[in-house]
Symmetry: D3
Subunit: 316 residues, 6 copies
């Protein structure tokens, strides 16, 4: 599905055939000349409610068979213009989240060192800490553009400091994130207390709650994101629970009352022109998906929009 | 999950643990000092198409584990400020709807007499007649604020006068409802004839069909509701089939083409400042829910918005 | 469910009983005096990804039990005013798409010759070629009003010229369609190349991509459709994948990011006053439906809107 | 699928096409010359746990598309030798089980009076009372051959005397059953008390609990059945919960630890040579079926074995 | 559902109503006079494949609503003769399996110290280590009677020593188990190497692989178990994956080719007369259950058989 | 998962991680030194009822992650002793079964010519014709050992000669099969007529119907198979619908009343010592699988037993 023959449906095997790599891209671990390395992080030991995100990478790869090379709304040949590799999964030991994150970070550093931009398929959001460690080792502290229904800046959960509600606080503490260049948008749903988002802002993050975000045009969101982000390296993280559970039911901690897929994709598309050092799509929990595997398909499309951002950037 | 320790995720057991009561609230039948009694009415013998709502209370309780105490959009500590009890279920005999409604009414009267506001988890909509009997026994005739895709004011169904399409006609006949202080909104989908809604209006109800409602701002809906309702006791009934089946598929008589969850929650939130003597969320039929149990989760969030209305009212 | 007794819920058998014909309409093959013949085309050998649409007619019939006679928004007694028959299925041999389409066309011609307007329940979109052959045999070349996320005008798929991505190119080649009187709307999602839609337009079709359509009011869409269609015979084809997969997950090639059911129904309703010689609703693949069978129910409602267009037209 | 052309797969429409009648048999209500009338009884208001059996007839009809005419193990052309009609459903009002059973009995009497043997697709087991009323009106008191994990001879359930645990006690009280010619086999699972089966035996029924039945050869079961039944009219009732829930998960009150489908079919087959005046297969609750609809398919095969018993008997 | 009124179905609320405790038994934490404390351990961080067992206790409680008091095959009034409490769940922190097991052990010790026999609903099999710590603190080293398709005596998994494949090796190392009084039965399916079971036997355990067990009569299994167990305290652990996945699909590491539910229940029943200090049923992973929740129902029945063993023992 | 490090669970990545190849074996198309090439044939256009088998190879690969290297019952290190490659899928054009089979045969010939034994993951049973063409091109006419509930020797289906009920008649006609060295076992379920199996036998095949097979010991089946097969090249074909649908629900034409998985695996194991030139496992249709994907897992285990036959043969 890559290469010269992509211009028609007749020149590739049927989309339902073959080993499932992301969008039928080649699977190897040679970073040479690769623009983007799609990589799975099948970790779900940090989830506070429904587990299963360890099967997220498999499900997103499976659904990505439906993707095609050319993005008509952005007018770019995404799979044709970029050299993309499916790196496989970085893995880790079970049973101890802190150790696992260290293992994941080591695995991701191998990609980042080699040059490709990593696009990580989660896994629960805890993995963002590993991603930021790997990215910061090359780029220094990053600005975070987050679309999520939760801010994930708690300090701990029943004494555990490494779980899917804490990665961005840990990342600030470890000097991996620059909150002043970060914009967290989409937060909604019941909280433990008003402190939940106060502490996020006290860390230095800007927060646009969903009640505000839903009234913004994508271009207004874009303006705030780019003004906030400034010139340094950026990380774009997309938690699938940002989208309303009607569109993405298969996630660990769903929050009803969110955006449609169309609205969410508009927000990602609006970021065209911003340059990201890394991406992730997280919290797809396949055991809870509908028979049509819609959540995994939505996640594959979000990843495709991220690839499009890179393709547009490379085109200049 | 109630009480002083609610301010952080670290001080309660994990949300996936423990006996499932509504939002982890205590289960007992002592009405003393209780603001709201959440109570199940596992009755589905009145349904005209898909049964299963007898398992609605169990499913909503299960999904309510995801709720947290504080409502950020309304800025109120819902679970902290209110004394809430999970009363368990009121039950009834099978096989005869008329008898069953009488049994349910007797069970609910025990709550109403004791003081708490009942928030009933259905069960099919037939149970509203039982609720209104219990509420009217204390408050006299109530005004009805209904969000539903059907008006439920038919006279009978194949000769049966007690079924989920008739409770509000029965309630008018029994003097439990004041149609002149009632607003029924959201009606959509094919009807048997134009008489279906004509007779609703002839009973004295005001009806806002979905085609009109969808063009109103929540504040306009609110204005019409409060003007209509006047000063007397009010009952807020939310049929989950008001929401489009993409968001709430698990219901007895789904009607495609309705509002999103976000739109529906906005309408409930808009009612802040109105005082309700009772609430229900009905027609969740778990056997038809998706693997993520999204319908039950949406219903739990509707119930949470109802609790929020009480909390805001109590705060004054 | 048709006839004089339809004015109340009490005079027909419960909707969950009886042999499943479309909307409980009579099943026979006598075209005499029939306005619309609902007919299934259980063919799915032309699908490029998920099969299963052969069970589409059965599932749509099952869900159609929820339909009622009167359309309140359009103010017409759809099932009362029209003489509708459920014709059963036209069938075909397996294993060879070209032969099968010829068989389906022959079966549909029997209806068209007899007078009734055919409303075809698919089946994958390949069947549109059979429908157009049958319709053109009576009406000459038709204008096409298409709501779909794909234009289905490719030339071939791995050498196969008869598959669900090619029917409208084949129809042009066979002189069945007049592209100059056709409007294809709703196209979205990744493509093989920019050629995909360029060639559609080169064939003479007008295309409104979803990115443009979503910003149109239904009345603007209607205006463009009627200006385009002119005076000749018209065919209205609705691919269920036009709707976002949250609302219609059970389809062969889902494309996230599309319209809601409410938006889609508005577009169909907007076509009132245009006269169609034939209709179809295609690409419902029941094995991928949710437990509530929401996709089939949405498709039944789309078919009901099509019947409403006929009823309004007959009323004049 | 009936008639002369049945001898090869090439002469009928594909099994996935057409309006769903039982085994593609003709649908009408003319009893003349008909051997067996397959008829649905979509009643589930008598169930004590999971409802949904109202959709049993639809699901069994759908699955019966897989049946073929000839039974190789019994060497009989079942669909070819018998004149079978799908009578559609007998229906009843909701909301009152006692009234509903009377309505069902009236509907079934029409069949019995006309001559055909009724084969009833349930519906919960309450319907057996209606069947026995219809059958006894012609045949006098019947002997009952029951395969079921419950004896269904309780007196009442929370005061309700017409529910799915009581039909055979009611039938004895009404003089419809002759317990002395009846054999109830397969009872297993926890009971309310030892009285549950003591009272069954006190009514005069012979009971073979599953613990005993599983050690019998089919021929031994057959011998006991025929010795017990004597010469009078007989009724064969098969509750799908007789089979282990691995094989038939979709039922109202499943009891783990029962027979396989193969073992259950052997028992039905063993009854060849006994003459039955009526049959039913009950308690299929489709909302709980697996994606392959295995329970409905098993039920369709049980019904097919019943038809085979008639065909063998007719052949003499 | 306990107490004097249990002798008939008419004297308790319908089984589908009420807060879900195990078999409708009372929920409190007063050990006084209690025979058995049913308690959940919602831990699944030790699983090597499919997670989800954290929801096992909820699902088993829900399914246990179908249980009734009296066991006819064993002729004992299980729920009437025993004083049973649903203790709720013992919980633990996420993210670190070693810490979590310590927390669970502390929670279970509270039960064991108080007197009741704990019947633990898992959770993955890692929790057995916590159970054995609690039990051994009172009883000293226990003999283990295990029915499981895996022996769970590995040393570690990717460096993690606390996971669901290691509890019984850890327990031996900690002096909690006496391998010489233990019988592990049912092992089947592919292994990493012949060392997997060699090392089990080197630890001192007796192993009956499934290939041998399937040829034993229950009484032969019983004889070997009681000869092996001798006189000391015993622990009975039942991993739901012992049963073939057709009967119990919802488990973390299913192994096709195992026993039926009927065969498995026979083995548990055969242990009547042996006295156990503790029980568990583990590895039910509800996200993978069928719509009928058969696995959870089977697990509830296994737990019921364990209660029956206690009831028979108490009766003497 | 292959190679020296397989002896313990600690030395490979977690089984839920990585690109899904069969049993985590390497994916390439270099036949050099390879013993067995596992290859998918995602073709389902020949199915007569439920399609979906095109996704069979993906699902079986996914489930095969649960396999481990060593077979304890056969005492062989299957994955360690054999050099296995996952060849990916051979594909074909849609829309024309005859052309597709030719394409599949060409793809499979590449493997057979290169030396490895092909183990084909279907796909519907039509693909057996392609396999036999490839195998016969090297080995000459083969003997067929078939476990299936259907004999698949019809002549045509509505005029189509290439579909899943005809491959073995076609193969005889093409001189690919030697019926005199073939044994077809397991046939059950209703037929079109007695001719169905008469014609099978007239072609020269030996048939053991399920009614007979179920009474044979595996060693008796083995004796008949080896006596029948003689010395020439053999092909072992396993249709997943041979197993009862409780164990393998996800298949195109399920037939209730068949063997358990344990019984089916025993039959395959019994063939140890016979040498096969090719294998397939066909008719897994994933859209109909249960949430635990049990059918795919059973199929993966059947494939594993086939690999074991090769490993035992290679060991000599």
């Amino acid at each position: 599905m890559s290469g010269a023959g992509q211009g028609s449906p007749g020149e590739a095997p049927p989309r339902f055939s073959g080993i499932r790599t992301f969008a039928a891209q080649p699977h190897h671990r040679n970073a040479e000349g690769v623009d983007v390395a799609v990589v799975g992080a099948p970790f779900d030991q940090g989830t506070s409610f429904r587990p299963g995100a360890r099967f997220g990478p498999e499900a997103i790869r499976s659904a990505s068979a439906l993707l095609r090379p050319y993005h008509p709304a952005q007018e770019v040949d995404v799979l044709g213009d970029l050299r993309i590799v499916d790196w496989g999964d970085v893995t880790c030991s079970p049973g101890n989240a802190e150790r696992a994150i260290a293992q994941l970070a080591a695995g991701l550093e191998e990609i980042v060192r080699g040059g490709p931009i990593p696009l990580v398929l989660g896994g629960d959001h805890t993995i963002a800490l590993a991603e930021l460690r790997a990215l910061a080792s090359r780029h220094g502290p990053l600005g975070l553009i987050l679309l999520d229904s939760h801010a994930d800046t708690w300090d701990s959960y029943q004494g555990e400091r490494y779980f899917h509600g804490t990665p961005f606080r840990r990342a600030v503490e470890e000097g991996l994130l620059d909150p002043g260049r970060s914009l967290l948008a989409g937060m909604r749903g019941p909280l433990y207390s008003p402190r939940d988002l106060e502490q996020t802002r006290e860390l230095g993050f800007e927060v646009i709650e969903w009640q505000e975000l839903r009234r913004l045009e994508p271009r207004d969101y874009r303006r705030r994101a780019s003004e906030r982000a400034g010139d340094g390296a950026l990380f774009l993280s997309f938690d699938i629970d940002f989208i309303d559970p009607a569109f993405a039911p298969a996630t660990g901690t769903p929050e009803p009352g969110g955006p449609t897929t169309a609205e969410a994709l508009d927000l990602v598309r609006s970021l065209a022109g911003m340059r990201f050092a890394g991406f992730d799509v997280v919290e797809v929990s396949p055991p809870y998906d509908d028979p049509g595997k819609t959540t995994a398909l939505v996640a594959a499309n979000v990843a495709y929009e991220m690839l499009t951002l890179v393709a547009l950037d490379r085109r200049g």
